[in-house]
């Protein structure tokens, strides 16, 4: 008997119904998260990602639009968009009779899942969240959602094309946008918008919005527990070799779960690289990548945004700048003034460890699983990003040692 057989590990590439049921019993997550993770496992043994052409996607979009607005439209200028590690994106122009506007040509983006993603998320949740943010902060206008992949090869949504850049045209950075250097002038204009937008998101009264795909955590530790169970379950589902440090982190996180003070909309990936701005006036035109958003603890965003993974050093070589823009103390102070919320240091620290925990899991565990099974349109990017995992884990190790 080989060692591998003796340890009796599950075959994660061919998950059994019993194993999926066991994971669902063991971990308590939001109902829509449970559904999409279960769907992921049920489909895992199926085919990998098959390349699709622009013509195929255009046909799928056309079918979706027929079901939504009839046949009075023309799709043109279809082209691929790069950016992001998880979803496939196609830009196109739609000539149509837009309600309350009239005949116009609208620049659009199709955002579609691959066969299995580095972050398995719900297009309906993303659709609802972006819609809820309209008028609160700059976001694309969302139009239609193919939640179950009824018209397109995989689940997708369609939103307006927002103009702008994620980094200065002449700036160098790694593929995620990490390490982007901003000039002092650009920082001076972007930083106040960056801070006030986060405050606006967190201050928004989400109870009036249509957010039926989200569960609302109670005021105890349920929010933290749901988040921890979510990522621990993903690790069980996706990982290949175990990482004992992640087990230590899970133990610590479970022992120290913070209480939720007030549930707010959490973007969950609020950083440089996930907003567009126009270069001539440095005005933020759209906040992107809402797919991991949830209703939860504002400290999750604050901890994510202030992560060293997205930080840069100032020209003095010493001062750490949040997302390359401003020192952490200044950022938190400005956030408190703009939002009226206080920052709880213990909650912030818990979410810093939680965020590194979840980031390491998706980079190393999910990244390995989807790339080795050929599940995405950019497996080479997913594989490349796995290399970032070690640095994230080491940051988390230092944080855990500081808490010991």
């Amino acid at each position: 008997m080989t060692i591998k057989n003796r340890l009796n590990r599950p075959d994660k590439n061919h998950p059994s119904a019993e194993w999926i049921a066991e994971l669902r019993r063991r971990y308590t997550v939001e109902s829509s998260i449970d559904q999409l993770l279960s769907r992921k496992l049920a489909r895992r043994a199926g085919p990998g990602y098959s390349p699709v052409t622009l013509a195929q996607l255009t046909h799928g979009v056309s079918s979706l639009l027929h079901s939504k607005i009839g046949s009075d439209f023309v799709i043109s200028e279809a082209r691929w968009l790069s950016g992001g590690a998880s979803k496939l994106q196609m830009a196109f122009t739609l000539s149509w009779d837009r309600p309350e506007v009239g005949r116009e040509s609208t620049a659009m983006v199709l955002r579609m899942e691959p066969a299995e993603s580095i972050v398995e998320t719900s297009r309906l949740r993303e659709f609802q969240l972006i819609k809820a943010m309209a008028g609160v902060v700059p976001v694309p206008t969302v139009f239609w959602c193919d939640e179950g992949g009824e018209f397109l090869p995989y689940p997708a949504l369609i939103c307006s094309f927002a103009t702008g850049v994620t980094k200065p045209s002449n700036a160098a950075s790694n593929v995620s946008g990490a390490g982007t250097q901003l000039t002092p002038e650009l920082r001076r204009i972007l930083a106040p918008q960056f801070t006030s937008h986060l405050a606006a998101i967190h201050s928004h009264d989400w109870r009036k919005a249509e957010l039926s795909a989200f569960d609302i955590p109670n005021s105890g530790t349920q929010c933290a527990a749901w988040g921890l169970d979510w990522w621990e379950r993903v690790w069980e589902e996706d990982s290949d070799e175990d990482i004992p440090l992640l087990r230590v982190a899970a133990n610590w996180l479970r022992r120290n779960m913070p209480e939720l003070q007030a549930p707010v909309i959490v973007h969950s990936d609020y950083r440089l690289g996930n907003f567009l701005f126009t270069e001539h006036d440095a005005k933020i035109t759209a906040w992107l990548d809402w797919e991991l958003g949830r209703i939860g603890d504002r400290h999750q965003d604050l901890a994510w945004t202030t992560s060293r993974a997205f930080a840069n050093l100032d020209s003095d070589g010493k001062t750490v700048l949040v997302c390359g823009m401003l020192p952490e103390a200044e950022f938190l102070d400005a956030y408190e003034r703009a939002s009226g919320f206080s920052v709880n240091v213990k909650s912030l620290q818990w979410y810093k460890i939680y965020n590194n925990y979840s980031l390491a899991i998706l980079l190393i565990g999910s990244g390995y699983r989807v790339a080795s099974n050929g599940k995405t349109h950019q497996d080479v990017l997913i594989s490349w990003l796995m290399g970032l995992g070690s640095m994230i884990l080491d940051q988390m190790r230092v944080q855990l040692e500081e808490e010991a």
Binding site: S82, D242, V248, N251
Partner: protein
Amino acid sequence: MQLRTDVQLKSMSKAMLDVVIPAIDPSNSLAVEQAQLVLGMLRLMQHQAPLQYQFDRDELARSVALMSKLHSLASQDASLATLRCQFQTQLNDANVALEGSRIDPAELCDTVRDCRYMIGAMVREAGQTAAPETTLRIEQAVLEYSKQQLLRDRALVVLQGWEPEPDAVPSIESLLASSAQI
């Protein structure tokens, strides 16, 4: 054998750089980005491939040392007795693998993974059932082990450019050489 991995990877990198990338339509941004990533990945493999076997053996040696320590720590808590027996079996296997001079690189890799699995199981089980002081000692041991292991993990991919201070990370060659006497 002349056509080994190093020369294959080197030739593939050159083909990408000289032929494939210049032929890509610059307006196809997805293709341009992925071609550059392929080139970076090939160069990373050229660096990693000669070190892979040595890297895994290095981790196994330190995993065995950690498992011995955890085995001893677990003896102080009756709730871990069952897992400790499995632990002992895995530790024996790991020692055999470590000492085997002709072990297949793939089996070496599998044994490392099994050690990781059992260490992870120990930490998880301790977190759920063991006395708090035992759990904390186990976790502390894993933290110490992780510091050394992650330094090697980071050094192995430093060429990717993620490290804010890459010069502060020792070379993987020096790290593996320094622990070859374990």
